[in-house]
Amino acid sequence: MDFRLSEEQQMLQDTVARLVRGEYSFAKRLEFSQSEAGFSTGFWQQLAELGLTAVPFGEELGGFGGGGVEVQTVMTELGKGLCLEPWMQSVVLAGGLISQSGDEAQRQRWLPGIADGSLRAAAGLQEPQSFYDLNNVETTARASGDGYCLNGRKSVVIGGHTADLLVVSARTTGDSRDARGLSLFVIEAGTAGLERRTYPTIDGARGCDLLLDNVLLDDGARLGAEGQAADIIHYQAGRAVSALCGEAVGVMEVACERTLEYLKQRKQFGVPIGKFQVLQHRMVDMMSELEQARSMAILAASVADQPATEERQRTLSAAKYVIGRAAQYIAEAGIQSHGGIGMTWEYDFAHYAKRLVMINHQLGDDDYHLERFADLMNTPA
């Protein structure tokens, strides 16, 4: 058994780490966050030029077929810089959905752009009533002429505000919570009837709700067989969960580092506050949570590309549960150990804390994944 990254993986890590260190100072991050796009289009360009937008795709698209470990490696380094670019949304989630379920023509049409970074994509899979359950879809896709007419609302699509392509789920048949009857569609920006309601997110990124009002699409916009998209959606969401776990580990690493530095440097009562046992023990708990989270992230990466089984599902939920719990603990305990300074806008720690808590609100929080794990848990016969 060997937990070390391979030489190629190590190179990938170094590449992203160097880029983030060079381009993503905290001050720049604040600027990017407040810019028109809400992230750095220049940085996106650099990701593309280094081939990083192609990581999970095949050689024909300039990638090297990177799997769960490679995706997490990128995400962890992006997480350390609190990077705002919608890499996961475009490359892993939307790109993955097209790659997995698109036919040859669709793949030809969209994947080269996603892989070379010239197209940004995002996926709208959840709705106001869905509360993390991706089967809970009320958006309808009615047959219309040779294609479909979509109506409904997709909520909190991170990165959707500047996306050139939006992959959305809609229902062709079935009741609002049925797995059967879900289909995936690609909507290109500018399509009539598509409105985006854009907003900043509390952790400094940006997203939107998609309001679909009689959006007419031809048959070539549907990915995969009609009404059969649920498995594909869940499978790709699982990959995205693994990616988020990777990001969280990067954010937690920095959050723990900052807190430890502060405990050593801040003096009260004539000594560094790290001399107080109550703070020592809390710091130890933070590090233990980080290590548990790191272990589960590795496990998630190892199953991300495995065939869809209950075991895979269960493992991914277990990982997101541990990550979610650890992330919130490290955010809260880190702020508490810093005192007031940990709550100020000017100091980067607060921004790490916000991202950590908000990772819980993407693709299911710890409550949601605990419940899912419990549903799938092995029990004596």
Binding site: Q126, P128, Q129, S130, F131, Y132, D133, N136, S155, V156, I158, S176, R177, R197, Y199, P200, T201, I202, D203, G207, D209, K267, Q268, F269, G270, I273, F276, V278, L279, Q328, E332, I335, Q336, G339, G340, G342, M343, T344, W345, E346, A350, H351, A353, K354, V357, M358, N360, H361, Q362, D365, D367, E371
Partner: protein
């Protein structure tokens, strides 16, 4: 043992309710109940209403224009005013510096400052913490040097809540740098409009401007602004801190937050039914509601034990820890209740009078920001770690 309120106390509760129903401006209550921003004007408007009724200075003796309420009456007020959505009283003048002036100030100070607090002429802020003196407050280094009929003050205070609105600040300053650290401190009242005072905003992680840094550069402060004796300020500071902690349990605020949470959870959907009917989430709410009930009862026990005068001791530290933890848990659940909609931060919706389409639940906008903002609860007023130290030392003798 008799856990019932007396007939007089029940009558008082009715009187409070009638007053709140009649006098609490609806627009202000609406803002409070939905956690929208309150302006300085909102606070002042409500303060005038309270002052007219003689209910602004609940802690003060009647001879100074206070309500002269018993601890039980104050508790009833806390319950009812939070239930109706009255703004919290900004404590720095009426509930913090005033008790110190009443107890340790001289006649002129009482005559000058107390009426100005009652009629809203003065807005006070607190000059305690410094960049190098947080939990270790007594290590403060802002220096006041006597020079004839005035002190010259140099130094910096921080975490000054609502200092941007204040025209006065009460400060702990070091007057004897050679004494043991608690013994060289004095309690000074400073006019914020004095030359050399600068206020700089600190923006918190939720983007709000609530706290400030206050800088003093050769600020001349008349010696008559010294409260009590020079170098005895630490005694007064500690007296004030017990007052500060008493209100920090925030039982009334926690109840209001719990109702807000239940409202949110009733409107959010999960698996095709209201989130509040989801067994897991419902249990989470139930757990915190029970904890709150226990804390409320502990609060009542402390109140009953000091009924008839006096200030609670280290018990209030225990309650501060519990009360703030409970409020943070309620904020945590409210954030969870929003699901993915905890992410959007639609600032326009925080302003009262917002007339656009709400992105999701009308109460959603402040929730995540408030969760982050209220991490302060376990930090301010003496961090919860410091409160536990106090309990360990004062109650347990450890």
């Amino acid at each position: 043992m008799n856990l019932n309120y007396s007939a007089e106390e029940q009558a008082f509760r009715e009187e409070v309710r009638a007053f709140l129903e009649e006098k609490l401006p609806e627009d202000i209550a609406a803002k409070v109940k939905s956690y929208r921003r309150l302006s300085k004007g909102d606070h002042q408007r409500w303060q005038r209403v309270l002052s007219e009724r003689g209910w602004y200075a609940t802690h003060w003796p009647e001879e100074y224009g206070g309500a002269g309420w018993t601890p039980v009456q104050k508790h009833i007020w806390d319950e009812e005013s939070n239930r109706y959505g009255a703004p919290r009283t900004i404590p720095f003048g009426v509930n913090m510096v005033a008790p110190v002036i009443i107890r340790f100030g001289n006649q002129q100070q009482k005559q000058y400052y107390l009426p100005r607090i009652l009629n809203g002429e003065d807005w006070w802020c607190q000059g305690y913490s410094e960049p190098g003196a947080g939990s270790d407050l007594a290590s403060l280094s802002t220096r006041a040097v006597r020079n004839g009929d005035h002190y010259v003050v140099n130094g910096q205070k921080t975490w000054t809540t609502l200092g941007q609105h204040a025209n006065r600040i009460f400060c702990l300053v070091r007057t004897d740098p050679d004494a043991r650290k608690q013994e060289g401190i004095s309690f000074l009242l400073i006019d914020m409009n004095s030359p050399g005072v600068t206020v700089r905003p600190i923006i918190t992680l939720d983007g709000e401007h609530e706290v400030n840094e206050v800088f003093f550069e050769d600020v001349k402060v008349p010696v008559e602004n010294l409260v009590g004796e020079e170098n005895k300020g630490w005694t007064y500071a500690k007296y004030l801190l017990t007052y500060e902690r008493t209100g920090l349990a925030g039982i009334g605020l926690a109840r209001a937050a719990l109702n807000h949470l239940k409202g949110l959870a009733s409107r959010q959907q999960k698996n095709g039914r209201p989130l509040i009917r989801d067994p897991g989430f419902r249990q989470r709410i139930a757990r915190v509601e029970i904890d709150l009930q226990a804390a409320a009862m502990s609060n009542l026990r402390i109140i009953a034990s000091v009924e008839g005068g006096g200030v609670p001791g280290a018990e209030s530290s225990m309650l501060k820890v519990r009360g703030t933890e409970i409020r943070q848990q309620i904020n945590d659940l409210a954030r969870r209740a929003l699901g993915p909609y905890a992410l959007p931060f639609v600032e326009e919706e925080l302003e009262a009078g917002f007339e656009g389409d709400y992105l999701s639940d009308p109460d959603a906008a402040p929730v995540a920001a408030q969760y982050f903002n209220n991490r302060k609860l376990s930090i301010f007023g003496g961090s919860n770690e410091i409160q536990k130290n106090i309990v360990a030392k004062m109650i347990l003798g450890l």
